[in-house]
């Protein structure tokens, strides 16, 4: 209720300043009254005008009366003014005639709104590269060359071929598919996009894996790439499993695509690794198109007044990664740089944190909490059930005889009132239900309509509005589970609907009001780890106005950052660390505990208590949330003569020499990539090493242009705008040589030089023998030990020791335990700007909990009954660690029973299903209620 959604809207002007902006918003007419529209779809069914469907990437048609897609939010139709015949030519009006709620408004007008806000956050996304101008791709000139976004729709179950993959030319299943990487990315010559789009390698691999799952029999799939960039968490494993699964990965950048024989498929021509020309015919070719700055980037930057970089993305610094150059204006997502979903979601929370910190003093000043009427006590009342049967336009009534169902419902025990509504979910029906509850003293409600997943919250609100406990409603899904699937058999569908209603009534009669649950929140945070991530989170939370306890295991804040020299953008790091340390140390809301180790952790979201060992002394800390930022470290290798010669260095060791200028005497430096990464022991990419190496190589070349600099690599992964560094390094003459895991470089060190031998595929596998003054090993990043912490909090790590987030895409900074958040290297290797971004995101996520004094909980929770004898079978089966065992005394005897933590319990019912004696039940799904429902179902037989 505190988000106001303005669709079909654009920003026209921004005035004012940080803390108080006036934004002028232009809202295009929707031509549909959103209050009246009940999304029945009749308008679209009747609309005669067909238009290319943007959602299906233009592969199929929609109507001029449309919703963008089935699950659209808001679920309200719109008329596409540019294509509607009535709006354009004044004829038609079919939708207006059919609309059952008179929602069509042909006279709807454009609106201009002035909105006052304290901050503006820009998240316009990206523009997918359009390859139509790249002649060599033959895109749009031959049907079986498609973009990756079109292919995504071809694969989708909600796509134009309903998930059964066929190619556009002849509708046949393709048996041989190729992906062309870097179309519109890493390409200065053809389109001026020098950057890497970061996500295309992974989506191409995903598409090939899904394709293999979708098709039967042999399928030949090839990905033609320059470097595979699977630098995200768990991505390399996915890549390796795709290789094992038979996807071909061919390193090549094809120069020509031609239409295939008879206009079907396409021919790809390319030079292979050894320079031989190859020509292959494919049934279907997918162009892995890049992510460009959004179309309106320039306009937005001028309107709002902030700067863009040369590619049209937002200009930002590594230390304030989501702040634009205009104070009070932030940006997140692909507008900042091409990025994948978890990165965009992290970025989003990070931008939210910045706005929240800036506006901290005004928090809660404009939001509202809904106030409900007092609840009626129904204790001791006989069940008086009201049944509301929905026609859903013709959605239900077209198949199910709703009148017969309504009549039948009247005959059921306990039923006081039955109504049939055209749309039970419409606003006027909510008023009607509330009125009927009061008039007839109803104390249980059954809604026979659609799915509780989307509509139960609405009916719960209606009950609350009418002064009834919200848990006194039961739904029977006579649409999704009935009319939609039994269209061909109306008679049986009607009988089934009666069964469904009878079951719902049987259960409803036994429903009991459930009391509101909540937990008090200790509005204080603990941050574990005093590196850049931990300090950033601590400072953000403190600046929001909450107390923070910051734990650091050493006697100094700053962590790894003290050892770093420059960011990939070339900014000096140490002065920023100094500034941050000073801010944190001088903040009156932050208590710093150095030489501190977490000893215990009990409690759950909102209420944790820990004992912390501070230099031998134990301190107790109470807190509502915790941010885990325990960091990582550079892996020390035991290969490539490391430790045998002082000429062999790790990255961080070599940085010190670079900073001091000690490297200028060298004539030759070799870098070896993936030392300790992407191997059997550590099958992940350490993400930062390629950029670090390229940066160092550039510094060497700039110090001494005649120096020979070699980079021995498996793939160069300078993702996003970092690609510019790779380009620059090549221009400066840095030599990049690919090697593979089964032909790793051979190193021997003696005296002042190191000999590195490696087979160069570009020279037909001929061995290079490089005499280097220094060998730099780009070693892995490994997480610091978190075993104890993981056991204390019962959170988890993956196989590689990095903490596991609650959801890899959508909750990338939440840990699996509510109230715990993660930031920095303990989550996955990442460069400083991303660590800071994630730490700010953790601030925002923590702020969501800290903003309230109590946390409301759903009342559907497990409840221990008197029958529990403490057998503890359920303790192990609970997926949320919500159950523990306690002892108690009764009549001098010691007994055991379980206790459930209401904050942890999700009401899944696994305990109840496990318990052999009814010792635990889930509210709203008790054994009696379920039994009544089942008995009632069987009564129809």
């Amino acid at each position: 209720m505190n988000i106001e959604l303005h669709t079909l809207a654009e920003v026209q002007n921004v005035s004012g300043e940080e803390g108080n902006f006036t934004v002028t918003v232009k809202k295009a007419p929707r031509y549909v009254d959103m209050e009246k529209c009940i999304a029945c779809g009749e308008c679209a069914a009747k609309c005669p005008k067909k238009v290319d469907d943007e959602y299906q990437a233009g592969l199929s048609k929609r109507k001029a009366a449309y919703i963008p897609y089935g699950q659209s939010v808001p679920l309200k139709y719109a008329l596409d003014g540019e294509n509607c015949i009535m709006i354009q030519k004044g004829k038609c009006g079919a939708c207006e005639q059919i609309c059952p709620t008179q929602a069509i408004k042909f006279d709807d007008k454009e609106e201009i709104l002035d909105v006052n806000v304290g901050s503006v956050i820009l998240t316009p996304g990206f523009k997918a590269f359009d390859p139509v101008d790249l002649d060599y791709t033959y895109y749009k000139k031959t049907p079986d060359v498609v973009t990756s976004l079109e292919y995504e729709r071809l694969l989708s179950a909600s796509g134009p071929c309903a998930g059964h993959l066929v190619r556009p030319s002849d509708g046949k299943e393709p048996r041989k598919i190729a992906w062309l990487q870097c179309v519109g990315s890493r390409d200065i010559n053809r389109c001026g996009n020098g950057f890497c789009s970061s996500v295309c390698c992974m989506y191409a691999i995903k598409q090939s894996v899904i394709t293999a799952e979708h098709t039967t029999g042999d399928i030949d799939q090839t990905i033609l790439y320059m470097d595979i960039r699977s630098h995200g968490k768990e991505f390399d494993k996915y890549y390796e499993s795709a290789k094992k699964g038979g996807i071909n990965f061919v390193q090549a950048r094809p120069h020509t695509i031609l239409p295939g024989p008879d206009g079907n498929g396409a021919i790809i021509q390319y030079a292979d690794k050894s320079g031989n020309m190859v020509e292959e015919v494919y049934d279907l070719v997918v162009l892995s198109i890049g992510l460009q700055a959004p179309k309106d980037a320039q306009q937005l930057s001028q309107t709002v007044g902030f700067e863009l970089n040369k590619y049209g993305f937002v200009e930002a610094t590594s230390f304030e990664p989501v702040s634009t150059t205009k104070a009070g204006v932030f940006s997140s997502g692909a507008f900042n740089a091409p990025m994948d979903i978890p990165q965009a979601v992290t970025d989003a929370s990070s931008a939210a944190a910045n706005a929240a910190v800036m506006l901290a003093e005004s928090r809660g000043s404009m939001t509202q909490d809904k106030v409900w009427p007092e609840e009626r006590d129904i204790a001791g009342e006989e069940a008086r059930i009201g049944v509301f049967v929905c026609s859903c336009g013709t959605n239900i009534a077209g198949t199910v005889d709703v009148k017969a169902v309504s009549e039948y419902a009247s005959s059921l025990p306990g039923v006081t009132l039955v109504e049939n509504n055209l749309f039970t979910c419409s606003t006027d029906t909510q008023d009607l239900i509330a009125a009927k509850i009061k008039e007839n003293n109803l104390n249980r409600i059954v809604v026979a309509a659609c799915t509780p997943r989307t509509h139960e919250p609405l009916f719960k609100e209606t009950l609350k509005e009418a002064g009834l406990n919200e848990y006194l409603v039961e739904m029977a899904n006579i649409r999704n589970q009935n009319s939609w699937v039994h269209q061909d058999n109306p008679e049986k569908a009607t009988e089934k609907a009666k069964d469904q209603v009878r079951m719902a009534v049987a259960k409803a009669a036994l429903l009991q009001p459930l009391s509101k649950m909540s937990v008090d929140v200790t509005q204080k945070a603990m941050v574990v780890g005093g590196g850049m991530s931990g300090m950033t989170s601590a400072l953000g939370i403190a600046d929001m106005g909450y107390d923070v306890v910051l734990l650091e295991k050493s006697d100094m804040l700053g962590g790894n950052a003290w050892a770093l020299s420059k960011t990939w953008r070339g900014e000096e790091i140490k002065p920023e660390v100094e500034k941050l340390v000073a801010k944190v140390e001088n903040h009156d809301k932050i208590t710093i505990l150095k030489k501190a180790m977490l000893k215990t952790a009990v409690g759950s979201v909102g209420n944790f208590v820990s004992e912390v060992d501070v230099d031998g002394e134990t301190k107790a800390v109470k807190y509502g949330v915790a941010v885990v930022a325990t960091g990582g470290k550079e892996y020390k290798p035991n290969e490539y003569a490391y430790g045998e010669s002082d000429r062999v260095k790790t990255h961080l060791e070599f940085d010190k020499m670079l900073d001091s200028g000690a490297t200028s005497s060298a004539d030759s430096v070799v870098f070896i990539q993936c030392v300790g990464s992407r191997n059997e022991e550590r099958p992940y990419c350490s993400r930062v090493c390629c950029t670090h190496t390229v940066e160092s190589a550039i510094r060497l070349k700039e110090q001494k242009p005649e120096m020979s600099v070699f980079v021995l690599n498996r793939d160069i992964r300078t993702y996003g705008l970092r690609e510019d560094l790779y380009t620059k390094a090549r221009q400066l003459g840095v030599i990049f040589v690919k090697y593979t895991l089964d032909a790793k470089p051979q190193v021997s060190a003696s005296g002042d030089s190191v000999s590195v031998k490696v087979a160069d595929p570009m020279l037909g596998g001929r061995e290079l023998d490089i005499k280097a003054d220094y060998l730099v090993l780009a070693t892995a990043i490994v997480p610091n030990e978190t075993k104890e912490l993981v056991e204390l909090y019962k959170c988890a790590t993956g196989d590689d020791g990095f903490l596991t987030e609650a959801h890899p895409k959508l909750r990338p900074v939440d840990l699996s335990v509510d109230g715990l958040f993660v930031a920095g290297l303990c989550h996955y290797p990442k460069p400083l700007d991303e660590a800071i971004g994630q730490a700010q995101a953790a601030t925002s996520r923590a702020g969501v909990i800290l903003a309230r004094t109590e946390l409301p909980l759903d009342s559907i929770k497990s409840e221990v009954t008197e029958l529990c004898d403490g057998c503890a079978l359920c303790v192990d089966t609970c997926p949320y660690n919500a159950i523990s065992l306690e002892s108690y005394e009764d009549k001098g005897k010691e007994h055991r029973r379980i206790v459930t933590d209401k904050a942890l319990c999700k009401g899944c019912g696994v305990c109840m299903a496990t318990c052999p004696k009814g010792g635990v039940e889930v509210n709203g799904f008790t054994m009696d209620q379920l039994k009544a429902q089942v008995t009632s179902a069987l009564a129809g037989l």
């Binding site: 988000i3 106001e4 959604l5 303005h6 669709t7 079909l8 809207a9 654009e10 920003v11 300043e17 940080e18 803390g19 108080n20 902006f21 959602y55 919703i67 963008p68 897609y69 699950q71 659209s72 939010v73 808001p74 719109a78 806000v117 901050s119 503006v120 956050i121 820009l122 998240t123 316009p124 996304g125 990206f126 995504e152 729709r153 989506y203 995903k206 894996v209 937005l300 997140s332 997502g333 979903i341 965009a344 979601v345 989003a348 929370s349 931008a351 939210a352 706005a355 929240a356 800036m358 506006l359 005004s362 928090r363 809660g364 939001t367 895409k809 925002s844 702020g847 969501v848 903003a851």
Partner: protein, 59 residues
Amino acid sequence: MSANKLGSVMVVGGGIAGIQTALDLADSGYYVHLIEKSAGIGGVMAQLDKTFPTNDCAM
């Protein structure tokens, strides 16, 4: 800087980043205006079939 700061934020763009930004802010005590140029929110992610590495439905 304005002396009287407003406790509201405008988020421009209703893709996955805009949605997450809006939710975080609304849940932590700020009133949010979410501006979307098309008829519904969701952005490009809603067009994706599945997401790796879990191959979950993107919807």
